[in-house]
Amino acid sequence: MAAAMTGRGISFIRSVPSVLLSRLQILGGGSQQLSCLHTSASLESKTWERRNLKVYPPQLPDEPRRPAEIHHSRRQIKYSKDKMWYLAKMIRGMSIDEAIAQLEFNDKKGAKIMKEVLLEAQEMAVKNHNVEYKSNLYVAESYSGKGKYLKRIRYHGRGMFGIMDKVYCHYFVKLMEGAPPKIEKKTNFDQAKEYVQSLKNRTIIHSL
């Protein structure tokens, strides 16, 4: 039986996990069709860049002007995604000039890379996406994601070892045309007033 390592045998072995899975399915729930296929994002999917390829139909003259959206990303940056998150959170909601200024004078390694990404996105917006004024953009979304890690050995004492991850991250940014949206800040006094009002609104229902 072990000598049956022919080509057919290898294909059998390769199909064995799928055979087992299908057999489990048969054993489990009667006639299950293979209709519950779950397509997940593979490691190579570039969904963020594909958002730049969406074309909207021409607007009618009485509709409000649709603001331009530019999606840009950089993949496999040699930096930690958690450290990149702090910078990404900092520039969310800022106008692009302010964001570039803040990143220029930030001491982190990721700030220099982020600044390059933002400048590239700004140039792309003016050249390809029909944005009129390059300062009229603001950062609508910005976040970092985990890239593909390389694994190395970290040697410990007594012959023990650990697996060291060489971390990489992706950085995604979405610029929109227009002025940055203003967030209304609630002052302490307003919050206190609201609290007192909620206390005053208390009533007792169905009482005698």
Partner: protein, 294 residues
């Protein structure tokens, strides 16, 4: 315990392997510090992967020429003078019979294509033009390739993939005329291509919308008078060759086109260190008035 079902058919395996628990893990980059000389190509060949033979060839297109040979130079003031004035009459009487080379070329074309007449061809050329532009608005690649040569296709479609174009041919102000013809032969002596220039004066509307549906150029309601010199080409020797739009000639005296709706930044002059930019006395450099081909 072999259960057969009607849905899934699999061959019954000969044996099922039993795996032991994996006790340790060594990441693949273990001993790579010293070994850099072995290349992946040798390893892949040893493993049995066959690479296809790489052809370092550049594709050459024989179906169309690369440009417009001996181009037609449109006379200045064409379509601006009325027919009744003296100069207008002179221009009208400048018929195609004046240039001998065009006559020779037309005779050569008639040898290969017996159905060719100057009067019919002008009408056909206009039809090809209108259909090509309709295909461009719908972005129908196959139809566009059949109506437009490979040299003209990238010029027509560059940058237009993610834009919406709305084009309408309102009417033709003057009947189209064949003004020029040439029959260049490329590379070898008998390889003839016919290039015929057709002049047409028409009213068209053009509106280009960008990716977000905002108007970039032109307007849909306002038609414009357009005087164009189209070059139609055909590979005469090829029995399946078709007359296709090859390009347009833009004369040097053509009026400037309408500006686009958004404002652009023009790069300023190069300054030496210490100089200042004088915005009041600076003249924007205008492009030279040269005939060019679209």
């Amino acid at each position: 315990n072999v259960e057969t079902s009607l849905d899934v058919q699999h061959p019954i395996p000969l044996y099922l392997p039993v795996r032991t628990k994996k006790r340790y893990f060594i990441p693949p980059a273990v001993g790579l510090k010293g070994k850099r000389q072995e290349n992946t190509e040798a390893k892949a060949r040893a493993a049995g992967i066959v690479f296809r033979q790489q052809y370092f060839e550049r594709p050459i297109n024989i179906a169309c020429t690369a440009g417009i040979f001996d181009p037609y130079i449109p006379p200045e003031g064409d379509a601006r003078l009325s027919t009744l004035s003296k100069e207008g009459l002179k221009q009208r009487t400048e018929q195609i019979r004046q240039s001998a080379a065009s006559q020779l070329a037309i005779r050569k074309i008639k040898e290969h294509d017996s159905v060719f007449t100057t009067k019919d061809f002008a009408e056909k050329a206009q039809e090809i033009f209108i259909e090509a532009h309709h295909a461009l608005t719908q972005f129908n690649k196959e139809k566009l390739h059949s109506l437009v040569t490979e040299r003209c296709y990238p010029e027509m479609t560059r940058g237009n993939r993610y834009k919406t174009i709305r084009w309408r041919f309102v009417e033709s102000l003057e009947p189209p005329r064949v003004v020029h013809a040439r029959c260049p032969d490329m590379v070898s002596k008998g390889n003839l291509y016919g290039q015929v220039t057709v002049r047409m004066h028409s009213k068209q509307t053009l509106a280009i919308y960008d990716r977000f549906g905002r108007l970039m150029l032109g307007s849909e309601e306002q038609p414009k008078d357009v005087l164009e010199y189209l070059v139609i080409e055909r590979h005469l020797i090829n029995p399946y060759g078709r007359w296709r739009l090859h390009g347009k000639i833009v004369p040097s005296w053509a009026p400037a086109k309408d500006p686009i709706i958004k404002t652009l930044m023009i790069p300023g002059p190069e300054l030496k260190p210490g100089e200042e930019f004088d915005a009041l006395n600076y003249e924007v450099p205008k492009p030279e008035a040269v005939q060019w081909y679209k």
